[in-house]
């Protein structure tokens, strides 16, 4: 494995008596698809929120692209190239597909204290928006309000938004949640394509998807990393079997 793009060192986060992150550590190498799995309540989302900056850890450090980002605000991490997609699809429902993607593009094309010119007429933004729409296959939906898209299309658009700024790394929070079998197949195809271009941290519950996609897997139990390895290693690890996989793998 190459050098770490994202490096997480012993994060601790408590909510009252609950220890949501308990010395959580993680290394994501440049170019890999790393999956973070764990049973319900293992602290996956808490961990992710600390990586993207929505939560501040009580202790520990996070490094991204050679810089410490432990206390950096969300928007600056995003500007550094750490993009995120959400578990519950998070798009601008009242804006059109074009406007949604154009906002995502805007975030990475200089400041937006531009008060006069129409945003949609800006040639730089327009070109990038067309590219982003083509990448996720939503060209035909350009002028549709996001609220009217199907669940799968929203997911696609959200990924398009995360990619619009050409991030260095993509944090995906349970992209398979709430997806039908057809949508899941489409999504796997999309992620396989993304994998060739981006470093990805995939937080996921869906086992079959994780094992077929991931280069490496980290298992989180009670806020603590209990194992990291290739899918084969994880499958064979007795501790992991006991803590989490149980009958899902055996039976």
């Amino acid at each position: 494995m190459g050098e770490s793009l994202l490096s997480v060192k012993s994060l601790v986060k408590r909510f009252g008596a609950v220890q949501a992150s308990n010395n959580f550590s993680l290394e994501v190498a440049q170019g890999e698809l790393h999956a973070l799995i764990g049973p319900n309540g293992a602290g996956k989302t808490t961990a992710l929120n600390q990586l993207c900056g929505e939560l501040m850890p009580d202790a520990g450090r996070v490094f991204f692209d050679g810089r410490q980002i432990t206390r950096m605000p969300v928007y600056r991490r995003a500007q550094m190239g750490l993009a995120r997609s959400y578990q519950i699809t998070s798009v601008f429902e009242h804006l059109t597909v074009r406007e949604n993607l154009s906002l995502a593009v805007q975030a990475h094309k200089g400041h937006s204290f531009r008060f006069w010119k129409k945003a949609v007429d800006d040639p730089v933004i327009r070109r990038a928006v067309l590219q982003a729409m083509a990448r996720v296959g939503l060209e035909k939906r350009a002028n549709m309000q996001a609220a009217n898209l199907s669940h799968g299309e929203k997911r696609q658009m959200e990924v398009g938004m995360a990619l619009a700024g050409h991030p260095k790394m993509l944090l995906m929070d349970e992209p398979y949640a709430g997806m039908g079998p057809g949508g899941a197949v489409e999504l796997t195809k999309l992620i396989r394509k993304l994998k060739t271009e981006f470093t990805i941290l995939l937080v996921e519950h869906d086992m079959s998807a994780v094992f077929s996609l991931a280069d490496r897997i980290t298992v989180l139990v009670y806020g603590q990393t209990i194992a990291t390895g290739t899918p084969q290693e994880i499958r064979a690890n007795p501790e992991v079997r006991q803590a989490y996989l149980g009958d899902e793998v055996n039976g």
Binding site: W116, K117, K118, V120, D122, I125
Partner: protein, 332 residues
Amino acid sequence: MDKSPVNRKILSIAIGSALLLALPVLAGIAGESYLVTLFSRILIYALAAVSLDLILGFGGMVSLGHAAFFGIGAYVVGILSFHGFEGTPIIAWPFALGGHQSGLVLWPAAVLLAGAAAAVIGALSLRTSGIHFIMITLAFSQMLYYFFVSLEAYGGDDGISLFSRNTFPGIDLGNDTQFYYLCLAALAAFLFLSYRLVHSRFGMVIRGCKENERRMKSLGFSTFRYRLVCFIIAAAGAGLAGALIANQTEYVSPGLMHWTRSGEILVMVLLGGMGTLFGPVLGAITLLLLEEFLSIYTEHWMVYLGPFLVLMVLFAKRGIYGLIAGGNNNHG
């Protein structure tokens, strides 16, 4: 796509503008010259309402303190022209600062000071959201209200009267018709500016923040800065309206910034249609005309206004503007 809502919108705006342009003539024909004065007041409140719509309808910031900036604009004109007339300095130390009579000096000063106050109030208030934001803006405006109530040098509770309207090159502000057209021009200019603003890159960011601020941050926007600048621009608009109302009534009092005044401006926006820019103009016209004519018959005109408001909010989500101009896009 069906083009008719767009045409209907343009047609409504054209008819509205034509009526407002012709109003002094129509009032002259009807022999009701007081209509010119009444409508000057309405246009000034419309300007304040449009400025509130920028933060409320587009930015999703429900401020109950917008009248504070309206009042600051008015007091800047009131205090400066008071000293300008008397020829006394406002402060003598550490540097002498005299008053003034010219609108060219006073109105930009009103705009700047309202904006500066908004920078401070906004920087503190915008760290909160939802009900907390409503309460903190309310608290700030009430603080300012009591500050001016206690300012004995400028009349305290009773306020101050202007000796005359300000001067303005080429225009006789004392002439009601000329003053009316000035108010109309100020409103039109602010509407045009706001229209450009909400469609610009900045406007897109503001609208994004209204809908999903968390997502905006994760896309890489420092949302606080954008919202603060929007808050300041809206306050500057209200400051200009305040400067105009001081001239219109030739009287300034703390009542201009009482929280009920903020409520009134808020009602204009809701009534006319939030996030439509032109709607708040209709809201101001409707509310102030109703107030004017219902109060002829009863002192308790609010009793009749209340149910009307409830019906509007329940059944016309985009307000009067939505009923007239149709369409459902949030593009102003």
